[in-house]
């Protein structure tokens, strides 16, 4: 693990910039693995993510099929497109079965499309912590747009906001009654609500329920958009693709995208602070006091440790 390592990383980064799939694939694995190589790689990559469009919604709503159709629309517009399909890791075995790209095989052989499946690897929020870094890698590789699929169960759909500039919530007819129960989670994060499988009975009811809910684009005063699609045959997808582009432009003008990015950086900053502190505690901060302790005691002890390290209050007794 010496200079040769950095050399190899440099080669990978070079390959990413030259849009070589092998290098892009490797680079994403390195950020997934984490550790010092990830940090070095990301320093070298130094890329800004392209617009990231997140799709979330209940299992089987048609997210993957819809992404495949959106990719077709983007390709017709001459864009290079990447897809990150995120699925949960099993909490028991740590394994994962990643089957989203099964729905996207029509793009195989198209060198301007890159599809990668990721497992959450125990991170909450339904999104792999590495997914954000993967979007930067894909940006460095010259992709114009990244679609991210993340299954929405319970609270996890909120995680899509930690990565996506724009959030599309995919719903199906027959789920109108669920809107009330979904409201606290998924119904607060969407910029666009999609009635997919609009070929099935109940699309009108769902649309009525959605309009009645008066959904608002997060961080703005605008109404969220409502679209109908049949992802399976592409109906409504060109319109959805166009609406997505318009909305991104509008939110950008509005400053909303910048505000969202700032929120994301803040969240990443706080997450990192937690991670670093945890690491420091394990390496040097010692163990918590033995026996029965109160939370207050733990907190006081942590503050004391932090004062000692940062030396910023003088109360910790600098040595």
């Amino acid at each position: 693990m010496t200079g040769g390592e950095d050399g190899a990383l440099g080669e990978i980064v070079d390959g990413v910039r030259r849009r070589r799939p092998r290098a892009i694939g490797r680079a994403i694995s390195i950020v997934e693995a984490g550790g010092p190589r990830r940090d070095t790689l990301m320093d070298l990559i130094d890329g800004t993510p392209p617009p990231v469009v997140g799709l979330t919604g209940p299992p089987g709503a048609g997210k993957s099929t819809l992404i495949a159709a959106l990719v077709s629309a983007a390709r017709e517009a001459g864009k290079r497109v990447a897809v990150l399909a995120v699925d949960p890791s099993s909490p028991f075995s740590g394994g994962a079965l990643l089957g989203d790209r099964l729905r996207m095989t029509r793009h195989s052989g198209d060198t301007e499309v890159f599809i990668r499946s990721m497992a959450t690897r125990g991170h909450g929020g339904g999104l792999s912590a590495a997914a954000l870094e993967a979007t930067a890698i894909l940006g460095a590789a010259g992709f114009d747009t990244v679609f991210v699929e993340s299954v929405g169960v319970g609270q996890s759909e909120v995680g899509i906001m930690s990565i996506a500039d724009l959030v599309l919530v995919v719903l199906n007819p027959g789920t109108g009654d669920e809107i009330q129960t979904l409201k606290a989670g998924v119904m607060e994060i969407g910029d666009v609500y999609i009635i997919n499988k609009a070929d099935l009975a109940g699309a009108d009811d769902l649309e009525r329920a959605l309009r009645h809910a008066q959904l608002v684009i997060p961080g703005t005063e605008h109404r969220a958009e409502i679209c109908r699609t049949v992802a399976a045959d592409g109906t409504g997808v060109p319109e959805l693709y166009a609406a997505t582009g318009d909305l991104l432009a509008r939110l950008d003008e509005d400053g909303a995208l910048d505000r969202r990015r700032r929120v994301r950086v803040t969240a990443a900053w706080e997450q990192l602070a937690g991670d670093l502190l945890r690491q420091w505690l394990r390496e040097r901060g010692g163990v918590p006091p033995a026996g029965r302790v109160r939370f207050g005691e733990l907190r006081d002890r942590l503050w004391a440790l932090m004062d000692e390290v940062l030396g910023d209050t003088g109360t910790g007794g600098e040595t």
Binding site: G25, S29, G95, L97, F114, I115, S117
Partner: protein, 135 residues
Amino acid sequence: MENTVRILIAKPGLDGHDRGAKYIARALRDAGYEVIYSGIRQTPEAIVEMAIQEDVQFVGLSLLSGAHMALFPRVVDLLREHDAGDIVVFGGGIIPGPDVYELQEAGVRAVFPPGTPIKKVIDFIEATRQELPAL
């Protein structure tokens, strides 16, 4: 850093039965691996493209019968052509003894007949992952 093993389970060829492939995909998931399932009727070109994008260490090819002598070595060759010769290819299906040797000579690392206990596949993966470069 311990590598997480990623495996592509792919189904080349024309037969549309994927119960076996899905069974093995689930079993390997339960063994703690990240398994990407390709779907049926994939060409060797499509399989290699997936293996590279997904950056798997293993590709498991499942084929009930027929064209294994053409398809399995083709996947191995294409991987090598794409600077991905380090990806380990194994296969499963009804494959006659002499063909097994020929496939192994062509670079298919292991061939499992139908009904192989999943433990044997896992043992193969665990033994082989030791040779792989650290991430």
